[in-house]
Amino acid sequence: MRILIIEDDLEAAAAMSHGLTEAGYECVHAPDGEAGLTAAGKGGFDVMIVDRMMPKKNGVEVVETLRREGDQTPVLFLSALGEINDRVVGLRAGADDYLVKPYAFAELMARVDALSRRRETGAVATTLKVGELEMNLINRTVHRQGKEIDLQPREFQLLEFMMRHAGQSVTRTMLLEKVWEYHFDPQTNVIDVHISRLRSKIDKGFDRAMLQTVRGAGYRLDP
């Protein structure tokens, strides 16, 4: 997996690069927007991490140029601008996800992971299958080892998201954003409670727990 990091803060880029390399990604760094476009032009990247404010060409311009040229590589925007309006501008420019600085590395990792794997499940599927777990997206049923699991609508959405990102860490913020579509920062453990309910439904009575808690990051659904 190759990642292109377009970021003018060299130290931040080095730290990011280091962490992602440790996680098994191959990283290429471009120090400004123009260099980023040149590097992106060579192709072969699975994810691009683009800083919003950069010299020469800013992040929005870079992403717009890429999309205009038909480059569909998933883009994660990084920005110190965290207002909702900024997110909207970023996503409209063609970015796939948005992360506000300062961020936890686990959060970045989880989002990069989610973006890098998303492309593989591009085809429109009617069923999802993760290990013993099977989800029918048409009649909205879930089975584990052939046994039907009764889920509330939101629990279904939550599990669907986890299944689409099976094997990856998914953070609480990502769940609130993607499942509930809210972008605020809950003070208490609201998301944890929903996860634990879901866990009790899909794991209780089975010999093995599929829904794992990842310390310091969030959750992961293992096959």
Binding site: A104, Y182, Q187, T188, V190, V193
Partner: protein, 468 residues
């Protein structure tokens, strides 16, 4: 000296331009008056002279030069105001009231008109020149006849008119100029007030305001607009400064704590004591806490500074309340709290959906945090009788004493009995900021009273203005 500055001013230049146009119009007007009055006087004198000439010519036709001579002698000594002169073929004077003709061209075909000066001797023996006008004609016998009139009086009349018109012209220019100076001074002074304010603000005095004279004219309008703009700028500046101060102040202590903890961990690690990994983990948690506080303070400060929440849209508040109910119901059940939601369907609201969601989440967070097991939390969304949208959360926790209710919405204020709970004391301040930035308000009241041995509980209501 104010004059050069005045001359440079736009109103004064405009005044000059209008004055020039006005002067041109006045000249045309005065010219017409001149022609209509002075011209008329001359025409009348000419007509009189012509008539006299005709009557003399009639006498000549009837009785020849002798009769004419006779008539002239009679008339010259009479009361008639005319001047006569009859010359023979050779230009020699036959008779008349003047000695020689003012018209040199004796042989001219005539009639020849001439305006001339008549030299007379007045009672005191002094020579006086009087204006006169006359016409000379050749008679059929070759004689020349001159008939004139003393027009000194009517000329004087014309001169008076001319003088009056000249005076009027001068008056037009003087009055116009004076009026122009006055008007442009007035306008310049109004402008100067605004210019002074702009300069003062540019020099750093954000309190400077333009004077509104209450005349409801465009200057007042401009002054009011300028003042509104300055109010807003001042509020924004104040808000930003306040935010900066708050962030600096509020983050200093957690950062100091974080630093101290890392320092201790470092010393411990050097001495081979303690677990560096554990220390790092704690530091990470601390750093996350600082970031959370930072984000909350920043969000509050930005909302307060902006005055109005950004990105407002119309959306379904009932749906939002249901989402929040669904999100928090699980937490309630998890903690052993009875949760209920009463949400009136299809409540429309205009505002920033994310901020309002965050505010509701904060209120629910608080309710769940402070309500002991076995208690109840209730979320309601409805429209009040005055049309406001009300989100309310009632809990059966210990409540907030009336004396403290105003205080708990301030940043970082935490009541003594809540110190053991996690949090920074920013939740309600953010709700308050969200309410204010939507033109709404936050109300704290006593909850349902005693409930299962607990209480009296708290009722937190977020009221947002009706959608227009």
């Amino acid at each position: 000296m104010r004059l050069p500055r005045l001359i440079r001013s736009t109103p004064f230049r405009l005044t000059l331009l209008f004055l020039a146009l006005f002067a041109a119009a006045a000249s045309a007007f005065l010219g017409y008056i001149y022609i209509a009055t002075a011209g008329e006087v001359n025409r009348r004198a000419d007509a009189d002279i012509t008539r006299e000439m005709e009557s003399l010519e009639a006498a000549y036709r009837v009785g020849g030069v002798n009769a004419l001579n006779q008539t002239i002698v009679e008339r010259a000594t009479g009361e008639r105001p005319f001047l006569y002169l009859l010359l023979d073929k050779d230009g020699k004077r036959i008779s008349g009231s003047i000695e020689e003709s003012p018209i040199d061209d004796f042989t001219g075909p005539g009639p020849t008109w001439e305006t001339f000066k008549l030299t007379e001797t007045d009672i005191d023996g002094a020579e006086v020149k009087r204006a006169a006008r006359g016409v000379q004609e050749r008679l059929t016998g070759g004689e020349a006849l001159f008939v004139g009139a003393d027009v000194q009086e009517s000329e004087g009349y014309v001169m008076k008119i001319v003088r009056a018109l000249r005076g009027a012209g001068a008056l037009v220019i003087i009055l116009g100029l004076a009026g122009g100076v006055l008007i442009s001074r007035n306008v310049s002074r109004s402008m100067q007030g605004l210019v002074d304010v702009v300069n003062a603000v540019r020099a750093g005095d954000l309190h400077a305001r333009a004077r509104v004279r209450g005349t409801r004219d465009e200057y007042d309008e401009l002054a009011e607009g300028l003042n509104d703009m300055l109010d807003r700028i001042e509020r924004l500046m104040g808000g930003l400064r306040h935010a900066g101060d708050a962030i600096a102040h509020d983050l200093r202590s957690p950062l100091t704590r974080l630093r101290a903890r890392m320092e201790v961990a470092l010393i411990d690690a050097e001495n081979g004591k303690g677990d560096p990994m554990a220390a790092l983990e704690t530091a990470l948690i601390d750093a996350d806490g600082v970031l959370k506080t930072f984000n909350a303070v920043l969000a509050i400060a930005r909302l307060q500074a902006a005055g109005e929440a950004p990105n407002q849209e119309t959306f379904d508040a009932s749906e939002l309340a249901s989402d929040m109910a669904e999100l928090y119901e699980a937490s309630c059940e998890d903690k052993g709290l009875d949760f209920k939601a009463e949400i009136v369907p299809a409540l429309s609201i205009r505002g920033n959906r994310e901020f309002i969601a965050q505010a509701l989440a904060n209120i629910l967070d608080n309710a769940i945090k402070y309500t002991p097991e076995g208690g109840a939390v209730m979320l309601r969304a409805r429209r009040t009788s005055s049309g406001e949208l009300e989100f309310s959360v009632t809990d059966t926790g210990p409540g907030v004493p009336e004396a403290d209710r105003a205080r708990v919405v301030q940043r970082f204020v935490r009541l003594e009995n809540s110190r053991s709970e996690p949090g920074a004391g920013l939740g309600l301040s953010l709700v308050q900021a969200v309410a204010a930035s939507h033109g709404g308000r936050l109300e704290l009241a006593e909850g349902p009273g005693e409930y299962g041995g607990f209480g009296p509980g708290l009722r937190v209501a977020l009221l947002l203005p009706r959608v227009e």
